[in-house]
C-alpha cells in the first residue's frame, strides 16, 4: 500500500513549486500594465493586443507552424521505421552505427548538430530557407520518435501479427490493420514530441534558416537579447496555455480510456 510519507509529500511539493513558480510569474506579469517587473501597474491585456499586431511575430509564428507540421510528419514516418529496424531488424551490417545514429542526436549538443547541417547544406549548394529547416528538424526529431515507438514495440505481443498472417494478410496488411492500430498511441506521442521539439528549436534553426525564413524562437530570442519585453510575456502565456490545454486534454483522454477498460473488464467478469 502506497502512502505519502512526509518526506515524499514535502519533496513533491517543493519540487513542483520549483518547476512552476517561474512560469506562473510570467503569466501574471503578462497582465501587468507596467513594462517593468519591479512594478505592478494594474491589470491590463494591452500586451496581448500589441502582440497580435506585431507583423514580425505573426509571420515568424506562421513559418514555425509550417516547419513543425511537415517536419513532425516526416519524423514520425522515419522514426517509426527506425524503431522497427531497432527492435525487429535482427543482425545486419552496420547495425551498431545505425543504433548509434539513432541515440546520439538525443544527447548531442545542438550547436554541433546545427553547425554540421549548415555545412552540409552549403557543400551541396542547397539554399537555406524553409526547406532546410524542415530537413534539419525532421532529422533530429525522428530519433526521439524512434525511441518512443521502439519502447512500445519491445513489449508488443507478436502473436497477433502471426495470427494476422496466418489468416491470410500480407505482411504490409498485417502492419496496417493490426500492428499500427495497436501501437497508435505511441506513434501519436512520438508525433507530438517531434512537433514540440520543432516548434521549440532555437539553435539548429539559427544555423540552417535563411533570411527568408525566421522562426518564432529565433525572433523571441533576439527580442529577449534586447531586453525583457512584455509582449514576450504575453506570447509565453499563450504558449503555456496551449500546451496546458493540450496536455490536460491528452491526459483526460487517457483517463477515459483507462476507465473504459476497467468497465470492460467488469463486463467480462459478469458475462462468464
Amino acid at each position: 500500500m502506497r502512502r505519502l510519507t512526509w518526506f515524499n509529500a514535502t519533496s513533491l511539493t517543493l519540487g513542483f513549486a520549483f518547476l512552476y513558480i517561474p512560469m506562473l510569474i510570467v503569466i501574471i506579469y503578462s497582465f501587468n500594465e507596467s513594462r517593468l517587473v519591479t512594478v505592478w501597474g494594474g491589470f491590463s491585456t494591452k500586451w496581448y493586443g500589441e502582440l497580435l499586431q506585431n507583423e514580425a511575430f505573426l509571420s515568424a509564428a506562421w513559418v514555425t507552424f509550417k516547419v513543425g507540421f511537415f517536419s513532425s510528419i516526416i519524423a514520425t514516418v522515419l522514426g517509426t521505421m527506425g524503431a522497427y529496424v531497432l527492435v525487429r531488424g535482427g543482425r545486419f551490417y552496420g547495425r551498431t552505427l545505425f543504433s548509434g545514429m539513432i541515440y546520439a542526436p538525443l544527447v548531442m549538443p545542438e550547436v554541433i548538430t546545427g553547425l554540421s547541417l549548415l555545412l552540409l547544406f552549403i557543400s551541396i549548394g542547397l539554399d537555406r530557407g524553409l526547406f532546410t529547416i524542415i530537413l534539419a528538424h525532421a532529422t533530429f526529431s525522428m530519433c526521439y520518435v524512434s525511441v518512443v515507438v521502439s519502447s512500445r514495440l519491445v513489449s508488443f505481443d507478436r502473436s497477433v501479427e502471426e495470427a494476422a498472417l496466418d489468416l491470410g494478410a500480407t505482411p504490409f496488411e498485417a502492419f496496417r490493420l493490426v500492428t499500427l492500430p495497436i501501437i497508435a498511441p505511441a506513434v501519436i506521442s512520438g508525433w507530438l514530441l517531434a512537433l514540440t521539439l520543432s516548434l521549440d528549436d532555437l539553435v539548429i534553426a539559427s544555423f540552417v534558416a535563411g533570411p527568408s525564413a525566421t522562426t518564432l524562437p529565433i525572433k523571441v530570442f533576439s527580442s529577449i537579447r534586447l531586453g525583457v519585453s512584455p509582449e514576450i510575456n504575453a506570447l509565453s502565456t499563450i504558449l503555456i496555455l496551449i500546451v496546458t490545454v493540450g496536455t490536460v486534454a491528452a491526459s483526460l483522454t487517457t483517463k477515459r480510456a483507462v476507465m473504459r477498460r476497467q468497465k470492460a473488464e467488469q463486463m467480462a467478469d459478469q458475462s462468464s
Binding site: R2, L12, F92, A104, M108, P109, L135, S206, I224
Partner: protein, 298 residues
C-alpha cells in the same frame, strides 16, 4: 535479405547517414581548413570537377593550424574545462533534486500518479526558451527573487545572480530537471515492492533497504537521467547566453560566437571537433545503457 526488409532498413539508415553522419565529416574537414574572405568563408573547397587530383590538392592544403590555435589560446581550453565543470555540477544538483521528486511520484497513491506525471511533463512540453526567459525576470537585481528575499528581511542588498555562473547553474537545473525525473521515475515504478518487503522481513531498516535495494535497482534510470542532462548541458548555448555573464565560459556559446560573430568557420569547426571528442565516451556509454535497458525488456 528480402527487398522489403532491405528498404525498411535502408530508408531511415540512409537518411540518418546523409543528414547526421556525413555532416560530421564535413565539420572535420573544415576544421582542417583556413578562413577566407569568400563564399563559403573557408578554403580549400572541394572542386568535384577537378576529380581526384582536385581532391588530393585539397587534402594537401589541410593543416592542424586551427587545433594548434585552440591549444594555445587560453579562451578555448578554459571554456572546455569550465563547460565540463558546470555540466557536472548541474547534473549532480539535478540528481539531488530530481531523484526525490521521482521517488515521491513513484510512491504516491496510484490514482495520483497520472496527474503527477502530467505535472512533470507540462514544463517539459513548454517552450525551453520561455522557461529560461521566465528565470530572467526572477533572478535579476530588481527581479522577484530579490524583492521577495528583501521583503522577508533575509537580505538587505539585492543579490547579484543574473549574468553570473550561478544563474547558469540555476538555469540548467531548472530546464533539465524533467529529463532527470522521467527516466528515474520510469525505472522506479517498475520496481517490485515485494523486494523491499522481503528486505525488511530479513532485517533491513527502511533506509538500509533504500540504499541496498532501491538505489542499485534504479541504477539504469539514474544513469540515463545523468547522461540526458550532462551531455547536452556541456554544449549548452541558450542558457549561458541569456543568463550568464561575459565571464561565463561555456563552449557552446564560444562555438556560436566564433561562427556568427567572428565568422571564423574553420575555428568553429575545430571547436566542434574537440567538443565531440570530449563527448564521444559519454555518448557511447549512454547508448550502451539504453541498449541494455531495451534488451532487458525484450
Amino acid at each position: 535479405m528480402n527487398l522489403r526488409r532491405l528498404s525498411l532498413i535502408a530508408v531511415p539508415y540512409l537518411w540518418l547517414f546523409g543528414l547526421f553522419f556525413v555532416p560530421f565529416l564535413i565539420v572535420f574537414k573544415i576544421s582542417l581548413s583556413d578562413i577566407a574572405l569568400s563564399i563559403p568563408p573557408y578554403t580549400p573547397t572541394l572542386e568535384l570537377s577537378e576529380g581526384w587530383a582536385g581532391f588530393k590538392d585539397m587534402v594537401s592544403k589541410f593543416d592542424f593550424e586551427n587545433f594548434e590555435f585552440l591549444a594555445t589560446d587560453d579562451l578555448y581550453w578554459k571554456s572546455y574545462l569550465s563547460s565540463v565543470q558546470i555540466a557536472l555540477i548541474s547534473t549532480f544538483i539535478c540528481l539531488l533534486i530530481g531523484f526525490p521528486i521521482a521517488y515521491g511520484m513513484a510512491n504516491a497513491p496510484k490514482e495520483w500518479q497520472p496527474t503527477l506525471m502530467l505535472l512533470v511533463i507540462l514544463p517539459f512540453w513548454t517552450s525551453f526558451l520561455i522557461r529560461v526567459y521566465s528565470l530572467i525576470g526572477l533572478l535579476g537585481q530588481e527581479g522577484l527573487l530579490n524583492q521577495f528575499l528583501m521583503w522577508i528581511g533575509l537580505i538587505n542588498d539585492p543579490l547579484i545572480i543574473l549574468n553570473t555562473n550561478l544563474a547558469v547553474y540555476i538555469g540548467i537545473v531548472y530546464t533539465y530537471c524533467p529529463f532527470m525525473i522521467l527516466p528515474i521515475y520510469a525505472t522506479l515504478i517498475k520496481l517490485d515492492g515485494s523486494l523491499l518487503e522481503a528486505a525488511e522481513d530479513l532485517g533491513c531498516s527502511r533506509t538500509e533497504a533504500f540504499w541496498r535495494i532501491t538505489v542499485p535497482l534504479s541504477k539504469a534510470g539514474i544513469i540515463a537521467g545523468c547522461f540526458l542532462v550532462f551531455i547536452p548541458a556541456l554544449g549548452e548555448f541558450v542558457i549561458p547566453s541569456l543568463l550568464g555573464g561575459s565571464d561565463t565560459l561555456m563552449i557552446g556559446k564560444v562555438l556560436y560566437e566564433e561562427f556568427f560573430s567572428n565568422r571564423d568557420w574553420p575555428v568553429a569547426g575545430a571547436v566542434a571537433v574537440i567538443l565531440l571528442l570530449i563527448l564521444i565516451v559519454p555518448i557511447v556509454l549512454y547508448q550502451r545503457n539504453e541498449q541494455k535497458m531495451m534488451e532487458a525488456e525484450q
